[in-house]
């Protein structure tokens, strides 16, 4: 299972969110779905209603940004780390 880390900004809305949580999923889409099951509503902060990554959110597998922002089909292997980050934007 991949380990997931997040921007601390998300803990403002999901205070029980644990860093480094081991999450089941063969693709990023499955990981996001699993996160949403564990923390209901969290998925909607990361992806839109079509399942596409929100414009100002980035997901990295290791140190590589995911390629498929529309369907999140980038493959995840067991020993990898996933980072869910906010893009630097706004003011």
């Amino acid at each position: 299972m991949a380990k997931v880390k997040y921007t601390t900004h998300l803990q403002k809305f999901f205070p029980t969110l644990k860093q480094g949580l081991a999450i089941e999923g063969r693709t990023i889409a499955e990981v996001v779905a699993a996160l949403d099951s564990r923390y209901p509503g969290l998925g909607g902060y990361i992806v839109d209603e079509r399942g596409a990554l929100r414009k100002h959110v980035n997901i990295f597998i290791g140190d590589s940004m995911i390629a498929d922002r529309e369907r999140l089909q980038d493959v995840v292997s067991d020993d990898q780390q996933i980072f869910i980050m906010q893009a630097l934007s706004g003011g």
Binding site: F13, G44, D48, E49, R50, R54, K55, H56, G90
Partner: protein, 370 residues
């Protein structure tokens, strides 16, 4: 009874309470998060707030205790087959994309005989309806499916059209007018099943044919509480009024005076001839006219406008008042500005006093009685 003022701002929701004529800060919620619109539904006692997170985008919250505690609820979602046009798509690239919720412009209750009905006006132009008090929302497809939508509805100021005005007829809840910026005015008589455009008499000087049937920019529309057949709109291209339920519009702008361009509009509760607007210089500048803040009031159905300036800044003022940032209750008016000023009048706009000068940019101002 407690009077409240609900401010949706660039940096959170601010609540104020009135105490013996003075307004006191009461509560700050959603600290640092843009609140695009917030209101109180007097029928249910529910307070609503639409958030526009920079990263996490649009979210919807409700409070049952006047803002003390809030629950996040699911936002309206566009159906899978809903698409929007991509303007200026590159050659060989798709000219449409799936429609997704990008902004909540407005939250409004249904008619008095529809206690569970709520409407939400959104970007990219969808009207959503709930009949279970907001637990679930469905796109009003009769409006979304209008054949001219993809060609004649478009973004102005934002990327996609916004449904910014919702007027439910107090005599017949199935009769609703909406305003789409940019798209125009639409009317239904059958509870949203079918819609017709109501733009006759409007002028859109940003179109090759200003009297086009569609593609108008009603910034904000209201129907007179005392006579819902009298409809007013602050349009991108002037101020317009209809006395026949939006079938025909008359330009009531006063050219050469501030009473022309703007966003906000308020109507008297008893007199269908009295209205207020807060003018700005038109599209090229979008600042207060002559860098002086002025409210204009008409008491004769728009034949003449009085400029009201007492208590408002008359030098170096760049304030613009957005479409939902002016409200009225009885003889009291309040508005908030893009530069974080809030002004209140207790005498129908004759004189103004300030609530504060250093608020974040203000998106909505709404009164509530509890």
């Amino acid at each position: 009874m407690t009077e409240m003022m609900i401010l949706g701002t660039r940096k959170g929701l601010l609540l104020f309470e009135e105490n013996r004529g003075e307004w006191r800060f009461c509560r700050e919620v959603f600290k640092a998060t843009p609140v695009s619109y917030a209101m109180h539904n007097p029928r249910t006692g529910m307070m609503w707030a639409a958030l526009d997170h920079g990263h996490w985008e649009t979210k919807l919250h409700r409070s049952r205790d006047m803002g003390a505690t809030w629950d996040e609820i699911p936002t309206p979602t566009y159906p899978e087959n809903a698409e929007v046009n991509i303007r200026f798509a590159a050659e060989n690239m798709p000219s449409t994309k799936p429609a997704t919720l990008s902004y909540i412009w407005l939250i409004a209750p249904g008619g008095n005989d529809q206690p569970e009905r709520m409407y939400i006006g959104t970007e990219p132009g969808g009207l959503f309806q709930s009949d279970d008090g907001g637990e679930t929302f469905n796109l009003v497809e009769g409006l979304w499916d209008r054949p001219e939508r993809q060609e004649w509805w478009f973004g102005g100021g934002r990327d996609f059209p916004g449904l910014c005005s919702i007027c439910v007829d107090p005599r017949d809840s199935k009769h609703v007018l909406v305003g789409i910026s940019v798209g125009g005015v639409y009317e239904t008589h059958d509870d949203g099943k079918t819609w017709e455009a109501r733009n006759k008499g409007l002028s859109a000087d940003f179109l090759p044919e200003p009297q086009a049937e569609f593609g108008h920019d009603p910034h904000f529309i209201l129907t007179s509480p005392s006579n819902p057949d009298v409809v007013w709109q602050q349009n991108h291209c002037g101020i317009f009024r209809s006395t026949d339920g939006a079938k025909n519009w008359q330009d009531i702008s006063q050219k050469g005076t501030p009473a022309y361009f703007g966003f906000a509009l308020a109507l008297d509760e008893k007199d269908a001839d009295t209205a207020w607007v807060v003018p700005a210089i038109d599209a090229e500048y979008r600042t207060a006219v002559d860098t002086a803040v002025c409210v204009c009031r008409t008491e004769d159905g728009g034949k003449s406008w009085t400029q009201l300036r007492e208590g408002l800044p008359q030098d170096h003022a760049y304030d613009v008042v957005f479409r939902h940032a002016l409200d009225l209750k009885g003889d009291r008016l309040a508005f908030g500005t893009t530069t974080g000023n809030v002004y209140i009048s207790d005498d129908r706009g004759d004189t103004w006093r300030d609530l504060g000068h250093n608020f974040p940019p203000i998106y909505s101002v709404r009164f509530a009685s509890t």
